[in-house]
């Protein structure tokens, strides 16, 4: 297992390098220009000067190489410095966002809390909702509960979040005034009342995202439970005189979780970048919103770094999914 993990990690390095090159070339090919927001009245020469100031005059391969060095060498050094108070990275050029003229990684770090809070939490909650629904639907297959579960999850899946989000805002913020419609990223939770505020502002975005995630995961959970409920070992467990709870929640669930856990793990990277619309609707301004604004502003270093971070997450979670699979399922031996 350990060997397998190490080997896969080693393979990921060239994979990631290749992915980063592919992303770079793609962004290079894509139309758009960082000068899009500059008013039309600014004369072309000025725009050209601005472009050159961003380093756009240099050839592609040089820029790629620079980015690689900055991303893989300077940024980690910098992180090291900030932890240990050293000054190794002094004077080395970091990855600078064109739009904000500031180090990309600092903004990313700034965005992490809300992304984790809202998007991460919604994923956790979605999963937590999905699992019992999937379990009960499977245990009582074709019951009313199962039918309704199927219906709701399919509707949940087919209605886009740009709609559910606005709907919730209109109902709960505008009509009822229960929750704020705009997420305050500056809120510091330090006492009970600020905690309540934080909860209030998280309710709607978390709910919208959780619903969407739950719809998908519960389908997988149900299918997997159904596969396992008829297995022979379930009968064995019952023959031992175990209670239904133990039989279903221990024996069946543990086996059913094997495929579901990998589905859940594989969903994590999409969660980081994929909640763009919800983030927009509720103004959560997490990583998704950062990416979309960077794309709109053609902020290539930012887009490149963010997408690469997502790529790392994807590759990493693919790996985690595989490793989890192996850990959960002792039959799998990767060596």
């Amino acid at each position: 297992m350990l060997n397998y993990t190490i080997r896969r990690l080693l393979i990921s390095i060239p994979t990631l390098l290749f992915i980063s090159l592919a992303i770079f070339l793609l962004l290079e090919l894509a139309p758009g220009d960082p000068m899009a927001q500059v008013p039309l009245t600014v004369p072309p020469e000025v725009k050209q000067a601005m472009r050159e100031a961003l380093g756009l005059g240099e050839p592609v391969h040089i820029r790629f190489w620079k980015w690689i060095v900055q991303f893989f060498w300077t940024e980690p050094l910098h992180l090291f410095d900030s932890w240990f108070g050293t000054a190794w990275a002094e004077g080395q050029q970091r990855v600078i966002s064109w739009q904000t003229r500031s180090p990309v990684m600092e903004i990313v770090a700034q965005r992490m809390p809300q992304t984790l809070w809202v998007v991460g939490l919604s994923y956790i909650i979605g999963t937590l909702i999905a699992l019992p629904i999937g379990i009960i639907s499977a245990y009582r297959q074709y019951s009313i509960f199962d039918q309704i579960g199927t219906f709701v999850s399919m509707v949940g899946f087919s209605v886009p979040t740009f709609f559910t989000g606005v709907l919730l805002i209109v109902i709960f913020s505008v009509k009822l005034g229960w929750f704020p419609s705009i997420y305050d990223t500056t809120l510091v939770v330090n006492d009970w009342s600020s905690f309540v505020l934080q909860l209030k502002q998280m309710v709607m975005p978390v709910f919208v995202l959780a619903l969407y995630n739950a719809a998908q995961i519960s389908r997988f959970m149900r299918a997997s439970m159904l596969d396992n409920l008829n297995q022979d070992y379930v009968r064995t467990a019952r023959a031992k005189g175990l209670t239904e709870r133990v039989v279903v929640l221990l024996h069946v669930l543990r086996n059913s979780m094997i495929p579901v856990v990998t589905v859940i793990a594989l969903g994590v990277p999409t969660v980081f970048g994929g909640a763009i619309i919800t983030e927009q609707v509720f103004k959560v301004n997490g990583l998704g919103q950062l990416l979309i604004t960077a794309i709109q502003a053609n902020d290539l270093p930012m887009v490149q770094s963010l997408t690469f971070i997502f790529a790392v997450l994807i590759v990493l979670f693919n790996l985690i999914a595989d490793v989890l699979y192996g850990l959960l399922d002792p039959r799998i031996r990767y060596d």
Binding site: N3, I6, R7, L10, D335
Partner: protein, 342 residues
């Protein structure tokens, strides 16, 4: 039969089939599962060679290797005069018409999504240019031959009983009029009363089409019934090979003896009088066979030499081959060992 020497249809020489074991960060090859480790035998035209042994001893692997379903580690397999040990895909494809296989698990070896006609017809589609009508006619003939009602042609495998499924598998193997069929435990998964039906069918077909069988099984009583000669395998090697009556009457190898004595007698009276040798322990892993004789860890008559030297597989009497130090000239064995630096 063994005296009226017919032509050798199958000649297997020193067949080895090792599956590599990879481990470590770089997936280097750290060893191998010696599933079949130097097996030689001949099968004469029209005869049935029984291959028996415990689970995991390499019977199936041996059978599949003979059919070149695996790429051999080494050794030669000559069937009907053609060497197929190293044949390329084209030659192999042509040879498939001569050699076929019936599988152990009739459920698993039939594609659950194909109809009976589809399954039996598949070899015809692959190898013969036939009109749809001709093919259908041939499928019906085959179904008749194995005793399946023609009305079942559009059914799916799961709709049949085990015995019927095995008939489908047999019909598929017969479709191309092969000379040689490997039956890999064709009755293991079946009920006693059905086993008899299938074995009878195989015998009838052998008679009718002059087939040659390699009959793999761990049911010694069935093998006794159907085989002309019997080979006993243990951990990738043949322990003993002899004509049927000889081996059942007077097994030479201690393993064969233990095996035979373990077969429960379907008669309570005989049962109580039966002498039985219950072996202790489990079969060693083929990845780590013991030093010396493979059987030395469980052998009731183990000797010192067995732990050091692998006994030679040799003909001890006409038509009787055995690999055991008990029948080796102990002297020669010691000498050979001394001559070769260990």
């Amino acid at each position: 039969m063994s005296d009226a020497r017919a032509a050798k249809l199958v000649q297997v020489r020193d067949l080895k089939m090792h599956f590599p074991i990879h481990a470590g960060v770089l997936r280097t090859r750290v060893g191998e599962v010696k599933a079949v480790d130097g097996v030689s035998f001949d099968i004469y035209e029209g005869e049935t060679l029984g291959l028996v042994g415990e689970s995991g001893c390499g019977k199936s692997t041996c059978g599949r290797a003979v059919l070149r379903l695996y790429d051999l580690t080494s050794g030669s397999v000559r069937i009907d005069g053609t060497e197929i040990g190293d044949a390329g895909p084209q030659r192999l494809r042509r040879m498939r018409r001569v050699m076929q296989m019936v599988f152990q698990d009739p459920q698993a070896s039939l594609n659950p999504r194909m109809t009976v006609a589809g399954i039996i017809g598949e070899p015809l589609v692959e190898h013969m240019k036939m009109s749809r009508k001709d093919r259908q006619e041939r499928i019906y003939q085959l179904m008749d031959a194995v005793g399946l009602n023609r009305a079942f042609a559009n059914r799916y495998p799961h709709e049949f009983s085990g015995g019927q499924r095995q008939r489908i598998g047999i019909a598929r193997a017969l479709a191309l009029n092969p000379k040689f069929i490997i039956c890999d435990e064709p009755i293991a998964a079946l009920d006693v009363s059905i086993q008899a039906q299938v074995v009878n069918l195989l015998e009838d077909l052998q008679e009718e089409f002059g087939l040659t069988y390699l009959f793999i099984s761990h049911d010694l009583s069935m093998v006794r019934h159907i085989a002309d000669r019997v080979a006993v395998m243990y951990l990738g090697k043949i322990a003993e090979l002899a004509p049927r009556d000889a081996i059942y009457a007077e097994p030479l190898h201690p393993y064969t003896q233990a095996l035979l004595s373990a077969v429960p007698e379907p008669d309570p009276v005989l049962h109580d009088t039966q002498q039985r040798t219950v072996l202790k322990g489990d079969v060693p892993s083929p990845a780590k066979p013991p030093e010396g004789c493979n059987f030395c860890t469980r052998c009731p008559r183990v000797m010192d030499v067995c732990h050091r030297i692998d006994p030679e597989y040799r003909e001890v009497a006409p038509g009787r081959y055995v690999a055991c130090h008990l029948y080796n000239d102990a002297q020669t064995a010691e000498q050979t060992a001394a001559a070769m630096p260990a």
